[in-house]
């Protein structure tokens, strides 16, 4: 059997197929759904590790589905950015799977609403597995239309997950979310139509080789970018994100904030820096950077103004997504490490930190029954690990050393000062300052135990509620120390990107 050899490109199919099958089984069986989902998440992580090994040995690979060649068939491919996103999804996904188990067990242990929470858990697993399959498919696919299908898969499962809590506010938010994501994907589809009209191919490699610069391709790129930006929630299009992310169940918020927005961002990154690189102009890059800068400041100011912890964390996502776009106008700068690799690295760091933060916020919410920031004092006494995880995740969001966020922001600063575009540096610094305000505003309350606070130990202890957040927070912290590994994978697995920005990686 050649299929199961180490060098076989057929392994690429597994990250899509495994969660899909697991999702089906989770839907069919009402018992042991957690075991199925956990097995799928673990197997997914193993396969992604294997793919990483493959990438390091053989370089980027292509897999033609069903043996059909590109103009007609659909291609999957692995390369540096794709694999890092897959790794991010696999690691965060595993932690979220464990956390979700803890979360639902805790809620079901409360006899008052056990039936309702059991029903939520019943639908959570299949939808989460479907979402995982969609995300992995998105990161692997090398075909514009296939991306549309995976985007829709992600959109449908994400909107259903957001509606899971069943409260009127979350239903309304998820309805809006569904419409926005639908609008985004329809705009994207219209872009594909223009693309197909002017080129007649859908494969990303073929499109890149054509490198035409006509009106058709510009319109197509503009439409596709707007669609993806709407799904990524860049500044003026971010209105749907905070209510949808903040009103969802805690594991769902973590999934939405850490992974789902990264999916559409990743495609945007691919289009702008690889496939249509020859079409992109400097004003367009600067415009994206400008929107990113406004998002950083606006999101942070809004985060400071919030009274609820989960809304604050959601606005922080708006702000942190802005940083990814500030890197756009600096992409051509050659400061040792190309800036586009920083973009992926920052996305990685943000995914770990933000999912840890949402998990911690969710645990606090479960413990207190509310998440009003002014009444958070004393949580440290009963949830020490969660509060610690929140603190560490905050360190990464603020960009203090040695976290992953620090490395990302440092490289952004160097690139912007090195190319004498100091205004971006100013935004990055102001953004970090504002981030420290909103992180510390909560942290100061979490760590303080007011006098005469009853130190009760009544709650049953759920390790799965606390440790996944802790582990992810630690990963985001030490990502800064181990920054050379992901950058090495990026360098190793990327041929086209390195060629585009001559100078390469160290």
């Amino acid at each position: 059997m050649t299929v199961f050899q180490f060098s076989s490109p057929a392994w690429m199919v597994c990250p899509v197929i495994l969660p899909l099958i697991a999702g089906l089984f989770c839907f069919l069986f009402s018992h042991r759904t957690f075991a199925i989902a956990l097995a799928a998440a673990l197997a997914n992580l193993l396969v992604v590790c294997l793919l990483t090994g493959q990438l390091l040995v053989f370089g980027p690979m292509r897999c033609h589905m069903g043996g059909w060649q590109p103009p007609l068939g659909i291609t999957l491919r692995t390369d540096g950015p794709a694999l890092l996103m897959l790794l991010m999804t696999a690691v965060t996904g595993l932690a979220i799977t464990l956390y979700a188990k803890g979360y639902f067990s805790y809620r079901i242990s409360d006899p008052r609403r056990a039936g309702r929470h059991q029903r939520q858990q019943r639908y959570f697993w299949p939808l989460w597995m479907l979402l995982l399959a969609g995300l992995n498919g998105l990161f692997l696919s090398n075909d514009v239309f296939n991306v549309y299908v995976t985007l829709e898969l992600i959109g449908i499962s994400a909107a259903s997950l957001a509606a899971l809590s069943g409260k009127p506010a979350s239903l309304l938010a998820s309805f809006r979310y569904l419409l926005v994501s639908l609008l985004g994907s329809l705009t994207y589809l219209l872009g594909i139509v223009f693309l197909y009209r002017s080129n007649g191919v859908l494969d990303l490699d073929l499109l890149q080789n054509l490198a035409a610069n006509g009106l058709g391709i510009r319109t197509a790129l503009a439409l596709m970018s707007v669609g993806l930006l709407l799904k990524t929630a860049l500044f003026p299009l971010h209105f749907w994100l905070p209510p949808a992310h903040a009103n969802a169940l805690a594991p769902v918020s973590a999934i939405l904030s850490a992974l789902v927005v990264k999916g559409s961002f990743y495609m945007l990154f691919r289009f702008w820096f690889e496939t249509f690189q020859s079409t992109i102009t400097l004003p367009a890059l600067n415009f994206m950077g400008f929107l990113g800068a406004v998002a950083v400041l606006w999101g942070a100011v809004q985060a400071i103004r919030q009274h609820r912890l989960k809304l604050m964390v959601a606005y922080s996502t708006v702000s942190q997504l802005g940083y990814l776009f500030i890197a756009f106008p600096l992409a051509g700068v050659d400061g040792g490490i190309p800036v586009w690799s920083i973009v992926i690295f920052m996305a990685l760091a943000h995914a770990c930190a933000k999912s840890a933060m949402f998990m911690a916020a969710g645990t606090v919410f479960l413990h207190l029954g509310h998440d009003r920031i002014k009444d958070l004092s004393g949580v440290r006494a009963s949830l020490p690990i969660t509060v610690f995880a929140y603190g560490i995740a905050g360190v990464s969001l603020m960009g203090l050393p040695p976290s992953g966020g620090f490395v990302g922001k440092w490289l952004l600063l160097t690139a912007s000062l090195g190319s004498s575009q100091w205004w971006w540096a100013l935004v990055v610094i102001t953004g970090s300052l504002l981030a420290s305000i909103y992180v510390f505003r909560v942290m100061s309350r979490l760590f303080v135990i007011p006098e005469g606070f009853p130190l009760k130990k009544s709650e049953p202890h759920f390790r799965l509620l606390e440790w996944p957040a802790m582990v992810l927070a630690l990963i985001s912290l030490f990502l800064g120390l181990a920054a050379s590994w992901p950058l090495y994978i990026l360098a190793h697995g990327t041929t086209t990107l390195a060629k585009v920005f001559a100078g390469g990686l160290p």
């Binding site: 007609l72 009127p168 239903l171 569904l178 639908l182 589809l189 139509v193 197909y196």
Partner: protein, 111 residues
Amino acid sequence: MITTLIYSLTGLILFGMGFFTLIIHSHPLRKILAVNVMSTGVFLILVATAYIPLGEGEIDPVPHAMVLTGIVVSVSVTALALILACRIQETSNSSLPGRKQQGEVPEESIR
């Protein structure tokens, strides 16, 4: 050529009309219908792209495959959106315009 152009323009107009309705109307059902009109517009342009006058060669099957996939996606998303809209109407106290009194479900049985 002119046929393709007419159909494409019609598709674009449909897309624009749908978009306009989606933005300015607040009723959930109108929004869902607007999105459906938009997707119909996109499908129309796609089908028009594949059009070749009779006897001048073979029709390009790729856009047709895309439209089929798009229709499947559109149907499932519409179903999900309708369910969500129904739930919103059932759970929220403020009744939306056109709500029937007899089909009302008591609050407790929903939760």
